[in-house]
């Protein structure tokens, strides 16, 4: 499985009115790899990720997840057809998503959040859903917080519950949309640790992040987006060792205080 293509994007485009957010994106995400999307704000990296979750609908091009077209496919005559809702949901089942704002449901406990999909989507019996949810909470180190409500958890803990919630559905690919950007600096570590563990277990991950240190140390594949396009992509080591691209070196300089200095220094 490892090394096979998990997600393919071909000539992906997205616009809001006159504003082009994504233009001609060609990208392959491989199984078992961590792919990091970096770039200045407004470069389109979050939109790209949200297109892969089909939370945003792309206007042109095609996204395939495990070979199956997501949302839109080309008909026999080459015309673009929207796939039925059930088909979209089926393809989306391969994906778990973690949001910048956590988006835990405030009226459910940590356990309730993780068990919701198991009960409602997979229709597991109560006990089994509970056991599996507990196991996933344990995996992110929060088994003892199972009965706490989101309002009673720190930001870092909420994000770890959100990761457990996504993992519980047993996705093949995990998407992370700036998972540490709304956390206090001292709380980012616990979330990054969980993500690092996940990467070590061989989870396929597509991560939008400003944590250049994480991208450099954990990612195999780094994609630098700038002005709606992929400006540069490659193996993590290559991209960071030789930031020959003027926009990339400019971008990295703004992150010097966030660990990039170590990398640039060699």
């Amino acid at each position: 499985m490892s090394g096979e293509i998990a997600i393919t994007m071909r000539n992906l485009g997205k616009r809001y009115g006159a504003h082009e957010v994504l233009r001609g994106i060609d990208l392959d995400v491989r199984h078992g790899e961590v792919t990091c999307l970096i770039g200045p704000s407004g470069s389109g990296k979050s939109t790209l990720l949200r297109c892969v979750a089909f939370l945003e609908e792309h206007d042109s091009g095609i996204i395939r997840i495990g070979g199956a077209a997501l949302g839109f496919d080309e008909g026999a005559d080459g015309a673009r057809v929207r796939l039925p809702v059930g088909e979209i949901a089926r393809v989306r089942r391969n994906i778990g998503m973690v949001f910048q704002q956590f988006n835990l449901w405030p009226h459910m406990t940590a356990l309730g959040n993780v068990a919701e999909g198991l009960r409602q989507v997979l229709r597991l019996p109560k006990r089994e859903a509970r056991e599996r949810a507990m196991a996933h909470l344990g995996r992110v180190g929060l088994a003892e917080k199972a009965d706490a409500y989101p309002s009673q958890l720190s930001g870092g803990q909420q994000q770890r519950v959100a990761i457990a919630r996504a993992l519980a559905m047993d996705p093949k690919i995990m998407l992370f949309d700036e998972p540490t950007s709304s956390l206090d600096p001292e709380l980012t570590g616990e979330v990054l640790t969980v993500m690092r563990d996940l990467a070590a277990e061989g989870m396929t991950m597509l991560v939008v992040t400003h944590e250049i240190g994480f991208a450099a140390h954990v990612a195999q594949h780094v994609v630098f987006l700038d002005q709606a396009r992929i400006a540069l992509e490659g193996r993590a080591g290559e991209v960071f060792r030789k930031p020959w691209h003027p926009r990339l070196s400019q971008f990295l300089e703004t992150y010097l205080d966030r660990g990039a200095s170590v990398l640039l220094g060699g």
Partner: protein
């Protein structure tokens, strides 16, 4: 003090009136959020053409006095074949009135549910119906609780207006007694205390409920 003795004699009628007041209030408080939710839902998710007439309904009801609406319904109704007894007209009027306010409260609540919570549910694989039942409605209910409690108090106080179209509720029962015995002041005092107690209790229950639901709220 003889006035108060007479009041004691009239107690059964007053208790009946109180019972009807509470019935009208509870029924109105149950029906108007349901109708209001229908209106809010139709305006947010329904076809585009329903928005204008529903907007007009909400604005007209919220822009005119309940008393005028009741007069129109009760005295005007028979001219268009709507010949209702006072209590039925009262309940209908109260529901139509409350629903306009509730539709705005609930519409605000629906809009205030963070989009990300729905997106998270989509990503976990919940379908439309599940998202509505499991995420949207419960979160909306939490958000609209304080405004709803306020509205329940408003509805309770508006039931007093129904006495003017001769619904035999508390105000009608007590003022009827008052004019029969020339005990206007005593009867008005009794009324004030009855309503004050009811609204105060409702407010307290509402605030207590809010405190208990506090842990469901992310700051």
């Amino acid at each position: 003090m003889t006035d108060f003795d007479a009041l004691w004699e009239a107690l059964p009628e007053i208790v009946d009136g109180l019972g009807l007041t509470i019935f009208m209030w509870l029924a109105g408080s149950l029906l108007s959020p349901v109708l209001g939710l229908g209106v809010a839902w139709a305006r947010r998710f329904g076809p585009g053409w329903v928005d204008r007439p529903l907007w007009a309904y909400v604005e007209v009801i919220r822009g005119t006095p309940f008393l005028v609406q009741m007069f129109l319904l009760y005295y005007g109704g028979p001219f268009i074949g709507l010949d209702l007894d006072p209590t039925t007209a009262g309940l209908l009027g109260l529901t139509v009135y409350g629903a306009a306010y509730f539709s705005e409260i609930l519409r605000g609540g629906l809009i205030a549910v963070p989009k990300g919570h729905v997106e998270a549910a989509l990503c976990v694989g919940l379908d439309r119906g599940q998202i509505i039942r499991r995420i949207l409605l419960p979160e909306m209910t939490l958000l609209v609780l304080p405004a709803s409690v306020n509205m329940f108090v408003v509805l309770l106080k508006e039931t007093a207006v129904l006495s003017i179209i001769t619904v035999p509720e508390l105000t009608m029962a007590v003022t009827g007694f008052g004019s029969a015995n020339f005990a206007f002041t005593q009867s008005a005092l009794v009324l004030a205390i009855c309503y004050w107690s009811l609204t105060e209790i409702t407010g307290r229950v509402g605030r207590g409920l809010e405190r208990r639901l506090d842990r469901f709220r992310i700051a």
